[in-house]
Amino acid sequence: MSTPSTNVVLRIDNLESYYGPIMAIRGVSLEVREGQIVTVLGANGAGKTTLLKTISGVMDPEKGTVKLQGEEIQGSEPNQVVARGMVHVPEGREIFPLMTVAENIAMGAYTRSDKQAIDEDTELVYSYFPILKERRMQAAGTLSGGQQQMLAIGRGLMARPRIMLLDEPSLGLSPLLTEEIFGIIQRLNAEQKVTMMLVEQNAAVALSIANYGYVMELGRIVMADDAATLAASKDVQEFYLGISQEENQRGQRRWKQRKTWR
């Protein structure tokens, strides 16, 4: 652990979750410490999104526990989870297309009723995403993909979360926009003290801002280490960063190479 002194915000033990008869999460355990950016890497179908949905209460786990600041929250409804300070920014934005940008942001504060603080937080969101302020009276469905992603993150911030679950914020964005969004995520983490759990396929970008990382495959955690160590590891470089190792004499036989964890 990089900073073992800080508190554990989120702790998951032996979580198992099913999509109908298919076991999507096969006994996952992990922890996220306060102030960290923790990333979960994995290919399509590794179970990353299911993991986040199970944590935030949209899906119920079959077994295992999810502890948010020491209290068990598995199986509770999403509105209770949001009120306890954990917000989930879903994959593919999922904004309210016919409502204006400002109304979308207001919906992020649904579980709160402290009007003055909500107004302050709205301004805070606009200070991180000035383009949203410019477009605040526009229907959210007319925004570009990158702006919609900003709206989804800004809307999530309105719940004043201790920890934010981000599902593929880079989905469908250009490399330049991805960099911009990740820059803002990093700033939110540093300046607003929002702990982040970041699920990504784009391993290079995710590892560049994360403190700690997990690698997920077929519903299991197969590697866990500091982000820098992960980025330097041979397996992650080969399978997630696309840096090919020195070719052997008979040319590339990548598909035959065994991952160390199998």
Binding site: S56, V89, F96, L98, M107, Y110
Partner: protein
């Protein structure tokens, strides 16, 4: 003069169609199922008010009976979602639609058993009174219907665009999953939408019954309101009202100036024209999702 009277009575019945259509659209937007019992909800709302206020039954003051009837219908709507539909969560829309058709039958026969199958009219303070403005004689009931509908529309508009609950209803109809993620209690919101649509149905029923006699099969009027909702675009609240007004106006005008029997088919003729030339309805709200 004759023409203006036709227009006013057309607008009045159009308002009733529009309000029933509003109920269809509310439920459709919230749950993506069509409540084919909406017309029967309207009929039951009318009979509850009638049972409370008519001298043959309880004989309560009219102005007391109206809010009670509205509240009873709202509670029935809420309970229907909470007690029945929530257990069908995840079932196909078709089974929900068939369920509502069955509920419509049950309500029709229940009303017949309680209040008889004979047509009865609601005793209102303004029944039979009229005013004449420059030679045009307008019924009090028709004017009341138009004013109440306008006020209700305004109230609904403010509710949906200004209040937190109304916004949450809009949000959960536009993107249910995202509403879940924001911590909006989507299931309770859905039950509240059913309550709202029950209340609107009660208002429509009371207005309808104040204009003429009502009997348990009046709920079949729902078919016309369904056409109104489809003309308006089935996802749009203003569209539902406009669709209702169009049908309400077409009926008396085609009866007056068209061939006999034409007025019965004219609303559906318009429905077919709209579906052919603007398949999404007049006020379609479709939005493609960006990836």
């Amino acid at each position: 003069m004759d023409f203006i009277q036709l227009i006013v009575s057309g607008l009045a019945s159009g308002c009733v169609y529009g309000l029933i259509a509003l109920g269809f659209v509310l439920i459709y937007k919230a749950t993506e199922a069509v409540n084919f019992a909406q017309g029967d909800f309207m009929m039951i709302g009318a009979f509850i008010c009638l049972g409370l206020t008519n001298q043959d039954f309880w004989g309560l003051n009219f102005w007391l009976a109206v809010p009670i009837a509205i509240v009873i219908m709202a509670v029935l709507g809420y309970l229907f979602d909470w007690g029945v539909l929530r257990f069908m969560f995840g079932q196909s829309q078709v089974s929900i639609v068939i369920l509502t058709i069955a509920v419509g039958f049950i309500l029709r026969f229940a009303a017949g058993t309680i209040w008889s199958h004979e047509p009865v009219s609601l005793e209102t303070p303004f029944a039979g009174r009229d005013i004449s403005l420059g030679g045009v004689v307008l019924g009090f009931d028709e004017i009341a219907i138009i004013i109440v509908t306008l006020l209700l529309t305004l109230a609904l508009f403010i509710f949906f665009s200004r209040t937190k609950l109304g916004m949450a209803m809009q949000a959960s109809s536009q993107n249910q999953l995202a509403a879940y993620y924001m911590g909006i209690p989507v299931k309770r919101i859905q039950s509240l939408v059913w309550a709202l649509s029950g209340a609107v149905a009660a208002v429509a029923g009371i207005l309808f019954a104040s204009k003429g006699a009502i009997d348990p099969s009046a709920g079949l009027l729902g078919i016309k309101a369904f056409a109104a909702a489809a003309i308006g675009g089935f996802g749009s609240l203003p569209g539902a009202l406009v669709g209702g007004l169009i049908i309400g106006l077409v009926e008396p005008l085609s009866a007056r100036y068209g061939a006999p029997g034409f007025s019965q088919i004219a609303p559906y003729g318009i429905l077919i024209l709209v579906l052919v030339f603007r398949p999404g309805g007049l006020f379609s709200q479709t939005q493609k999702k960006k990836v």
